[in-house]
């Protein structure tokens, strides 16, 4: 059978790609067992077989939330989540799911991905029944999550994924379908989708580095993180050399409290991994993802907020009209842009180009400015005697912006979560105070991370002060970009 042929050739040709450039020696006898969550290991180890029912339930829930609203009449102007299913579904996705999943990586790591996500589970389910082809280089390319994140972020805006049930069904249903197709074709008993292509997987993975949960081998091996396509791990982590948490989806399959090797679950101080990023596989692709990803998310927020967007659309449109290019007034296909005249929203090609163009400009400006600030910080670190070369130092220092970027994203795009606080009797000014407090905290945290990262680059305390000031400037720049979300325009 063709299926068997494929799987045998796949396992015969396994190659292990070393994606690490920092080497660290770990003494296996000195593995620290402090803060180990043995009870959690027991719980998941003993209930492993029940996880499939959780996945099935989540799959069903997602199908209902995504597709039922398509068969219902449009909600009225005053409908609330409590009396209309479409509004309820929208609220669940954008008011709860999005901000909570995003926030959860701090407290529980990528637990969403391994324990709850129906897309990843469906992908793996299909993989068991699929062709099991070897994962091609294009999918393994480290820039792939950047591409998929940017496509989804831009498409989400042009189809109005936060406003229209059709767009929600298209974007999430499309991701679900892609996950199943990718799982069906590529990978051998694993989740190529989750590791390489999921649009939000790397975003969650990146910020899970700040989180307090650490999955770590009981018998660690030196050498640093490795990509292992034949690994037992569904996201192809070489478990004994695992140091970074970004690819771990917390499926608990490698966890067995009774086994002597295997993986244990530990608590750690928040931000610890980023403080020690030098030995936790910092990656150029990840830094690119961080800059471009948070930049495009910012673009998705700002085009709806800044009056400059309307000015740009107007002048661009007038240019088209004066050149008699009236086709910009035509609407494109439904899957590319929002065409809902009955809801008083119609995008034409002008809207499409304006949104994509504006978001692209924001993404580029954000990336260029923050990179420039980080380059200055790196230059200063070099000047004051950093032990790393420029490129390595630049990569490491970029990670200091994670807290401020995460909090800004949460406030900017998960703002609905804060509305819950009004139940406690808080008014708008109290909410703004809470946001400012959170934001200030994230700035201080970023500053602290910068300080620690510089310390690992062998800079003495006094030598760290100047590069920390430019680091602070970078954090303030991130905050400035999200200003309308945090303080209002």
């Amino acid at each position: 059978m063709a299926i068997n042929d494929n799987s045998t050739t796949a396992s015969a040709e396994i190659e292990i790609i070393d994606i690490t450039n920092s080497v660290e020696v770990v003494n296996p006898k000195a593995v620290d067992q402090n803060n180990r969550l043995t009870w959690l290991e027991w719980f998941f180890h003993h209930h492993k077989d029940k996880l499939r029912w959780v996945h099935l339930a989540m799959f069903g829930l997602f199908l209902v939330l995504l597709f039922l609203p398509l068969f219902l009449a449009d909600p009225g102007e005053q409908a609330t989540p409590l009396d209309n299913f479409t509004v309820f579904s929208n609220y669940l996705m954008w008011g709860l799911w999005f901000p909570l999943v995003f926030l959860s990586v701090i407290f529980t790591g990528r637990s969403w991905c391994g324990l709850l996500c129906p897309m990843g589970a469906a992908s793996e389910w299909a993989n068991k029944r699929g062709l099991r082809r070897r994962i091609p280089a294009i999918i393994r390319w480290e820039g792939m999550p950047i591409v998929s994140f940017i496509i989804i972020t831009f498409l989400g805006q042009t189809v109005g994924v936060r406003d229209h049930p059709e767009a929600l069904a298209e974007v999430f249903g499309g991701v679900m379908l892609m996950a199943i197709i990718v799982g069906f074709i590529w990978g051998n008993k694993n989740r190529a989708w989750c590791r390489h292509m999921c649009p939000i997987g790397l975003m969650l993975g990146l910020f899970s580095r700040l989180g307090v949960v650490q999955f770590t081998s009981k018998k660690p091996k030196a050498g640093g993180d490795k990509y292992a396509e034949n690994s037992f791990c569904p996201t192809m982590i070489d478990l004994r050399q695992k140091r970074e948490s970004r690819h771990c989806i917390e499926c608990f399959r490698c966890v067995n409290p009774e086994a002597k090797s295997s993986v244990m679950v530990k608590l750690r101080a928040p931000g610890k991994e980023v403080e020690e990023i030098k030995t936790h596989n910092p990656g150029a692709a990840e830094v690119w993802f961080f800059l471009l990803g948070t930049g495009s998310a910012l673009g998705g927020f700002l085009w709806l907020t800044l009056p400059e967007y309307e000015m740009m659309r107007q002048s661009l449109g007038e240019w088209f009209i004066s050149n008699e290019m009236y086709w910009v007034g035509e609407s494109g296909p439904w899957w590319l842009m929002s065409v809902h005249p009955e809801r008083r929203e119609v995008f034409n090609w002008l809207d499409f180009f304006s949104i994509v163009g504006f978001m692209a400009i924001v993404t580029l400006v954000f990336t260029v400015v923050l990179s420039a600030i980080n380059a200055i910080t790196t230059y200063l670190a070099q000047l004051f005697g950093s032990a790393d070369n420029f490129k390595q130092s630049f990569k490491e220092l970029a990670y200091q912006y994670m807290p401020v970027a995460m909090v800004s994203l949460l406030i900017g795009l998960g703002g609905k979560l804060f509305e819950w606080l009004t139940i406690l009797g808080l008014d708008n000014s109290a909410l703004i105070s809470i946001k400012i407090a959170l934001f200030s905290f994230s700035i201080i945290w970023s500053l602290w991370l910068g300080w620690k990262i510089l310390a690992r680059q062998q800079l003495k305390a006094r030598a760290r002060i100047v590069p920390c000031i430019t680091g602070l400037l970078g954090s303030l720049f991130v905050g400035f970009c999200w200003w309308p979300a945090i303080f209002g325009l």
Partner: protein, 190 residues
């Protein structure tokens, strides 16, 4: 029809030009103690007619759209408005910044470079940013339009005696405005 056009032609002679691109005129036109500002937004949901909403207004929600048999503007492209604010030195003893009520506002929209036009009148209505004259209007695709508002004096009784009659009570005049319409766009976008 012919007479109507002739009236318009006659009125064109007294047309006062206010040029501004975009959705709102940046500078209003001041005349007879009032400032006029043309603007348009996306089509809005309006009540069927004035006076029908008093019951709805009595509810705890000041404008409970669901309780009314409201009309989604069928095929409308814009909500055309004329904002009229009384200026400081107005001769009617209105408070400065007040809305001038009871005006009769008609409009005529021509698509530049074509023979297409549409006309109608704006009704007094109130939104969350105050009262204005407005109506939903169907245009003819993206392009340049020239809008002319004909403003007729308030339909009010007048004091006619020399002692108490308001000065500078006005004859109908026109305010014009050129705009480039580019499609409905994002709901709530402008």
């Amino acid at each position: 029809m012919k007479i109507k056009l002739l009236t318009f032609a006659a009125l064109l002679l007294t047309t006062l030009n206010v040029n501004a691109a975009g959705q709102t005129q940046e500078q209003g036109f001041v005349k007879y103690g009032m400032e006029f500002k043309g603007m348009y937004i996306q089509p809005v949901i309006m009540s069927e007619m004035a006076g029908m909403d008093h019951a709805a207004m009595g509810h705890e929600m000041p404008m409970n759209m669901d309780d009314m048999d409201h009309a989604i503007p069928e095929g409308a492209d814009i909500h055309l408005e004329l904002r009229v604010e009384v200026t400081e030195d107005n001769p009617y003893s209105f408070k400065a910044g007040a809305w001038m009520p009871y005006l009769k506002v008609d409009y005529r929209i021509e698509k530049v470079g074509t023979k297409w036009f549409t006309s109608g009148s704006l009704m007094p209505m109130i939104a969350n940013d105050g009262p204005h004259y407005g109506n939903n209007v169907k245009l003819n695709g993206v392009g340049k339009y020239s809008i002319k508002y004909r403003v007729t004096a308030p339909d009010l009784m007048l004091h006619m005696d020399k002692e108490t009659a308001p000065s500078a009570w006005f004859k109908p005049f026109m305010v014009s405005w050129d705009l480039t319409y580019l499609g409905i766009g994002k709901k709530g976008g402008y």
